[in-house]
Each structure stands twice: as structure tokens, then as C-alpha cells.
Assembly symmetry: C2
Homo-oligomer: 112 residues x 2
Amino acid sequence: MKDSKLLKGTLQTIILKLLSGTDRMYGYEITQQVKQLTEGEFVLTEGALYPALHKLEAEGLLATESEIVDGRARKYYSLTAKGKEEQVAKVQDALTFVEKLQLILNAKPSIS
Amino acid sequence: MKDSKLLKGTLQTIILKLLSGTDRMYGYEITQQVKQLTEGEFVLTEGALYPALHKLEAEGLLATESEIVDGRARKYYSLTAKGKEEQVAKVQDALTFVEKLQLILNAKPSIS
DNA sequence: CTAATATACATAATTTTCTTAGGTATATAA
DNA sequence: TTATATACCTAAGAAAATTATGTATATTAG
């Protein structure tokens, strides 16, 4: 996570995408899943994750259910119908962004 | 530029990368180059570009020379030695970021 | 037994980095 | 002569992180 600054703007998209793969996930589970999928490269801080989850819920993209598991409180999040729509759009936008960014980053220097 | 929010954090890297391809560029030229390379997808606003250029200069990554061309003032930017080092590091970080992000965005849903 | 680590949630203050909106000025094309 | 393109700039505000806390339980190690 040397340069987690690069995460800016993509956190919501990551959350929506992960939730589109299962019925529900809780916050801590999301941090672990992201760490695993990126081979330790992306480390979600709680200060970023929880406010993002709350915002997505406030916007009606996520629904929650709280449970006690093994004596500890867990808050499960799942995609609403609106959230599923937004997931598709946001992931598509991010993939386009990434594709265009690579065009720049991989550009060969002009005849210098 | 429907969702230029995705650009957050990558602007400095884009500037450094473009400058690594030639001896020097001026602000307006950078906006046009980015638009062209991304087929109109990335549109740099002046409110983001100029402060970013000034910051990179203040950090000693860019050097400037001002000229009057065709009756209009231009400010050319070029990479310093420090800027060239940073360019390599930042582009490498961004490519790693993009690669890991794609791992998440392209992940197949688990056996749901 | 007890201290450290992992699990699990949350918020507040601050910083970074944009967007939006404005300002100045010259050259060229309609 | 009016709009568009070129060319620079800044300020106010918003968005989205970082950093630093705080609370609490379960498990593992010494």
C-alpha cells in the first residue's frame, strides 16, 4: 500500500463489484478480499471503507442486515436493484478509464 | 469526460509521462495531447492542470521557460533530473495499480 | 493468566485533489 | 464584429482519501 493514493475514486466501484459476486459481504470481509485479490497491493483503511459503505447505503445502492456472529457484531451489505445497475455502469466506466490510462502510460516516446 | 472523477491521483503521473517523451511541452499542448491519446475520453480542466503543474515545479520535478509565440505567452515545462526519476517510479506504480484494479474488475463471480 | 493480535465496527480532523466558476489576453475564422 | 481557439491564471467549494482515535470481543502466544 505504498501508494494507496492511486485508489482515489475507485473505492465505490470496487465495493459494488465485489458485492455483485455474492449475495452479501461485511466490511472486514471486503478488506480481506481486496487484499487477497490484489496480492497485498491494495489495503483498504477503515477510515475510507466505512464512510464509503455508509454513503452507498444512503444513496440506496446497498442494503444492510446486522447480525451477531461468534459474539461479534457484523453488518452485512448487499446490492439493491439500483445498486446492481450502478455496478454495471461504474465497472464499465472504470474499465474504460483504465484502458485509456494505459494508452498514455505505455505510449512510446516520440522521435526524440 | 462524463466521469473525470476517475482521474483523481493520476494527473501528476500523466504529466510526467508525457514530458518524458519530448524535450518540453506547454500547458495547453498537454491538454490537447491527452485528449488525442485517449480519443476524447480524458479532458483536462485548467483548474486541475495548472495547479498540478505549479505543484510539480515547486517540488523540483519540472523546470520552466516562458516565451512569446505568435503574440501569445507560453510557458514550457520540462523534466528535471529529479522529475525523470519520479516519472519512472510514478508510471510503474500506476501500471501496477491498473493491473491490480483489473484483477478485481474482471473477477468472475464466485459460485453464487 | 495475560498480553498481543485478529476480528469488527465507527467517527473526527485534516489533507489532497479535484470541479466549478470566474478572470485576463491575443489570434483567427465566420 | 462576434465567436472560437489559443494560452495563461486563481479562488471557493466539494469529494474522497489519510491519519488518528475509540469501542469491543475472540483467539493465540508466552
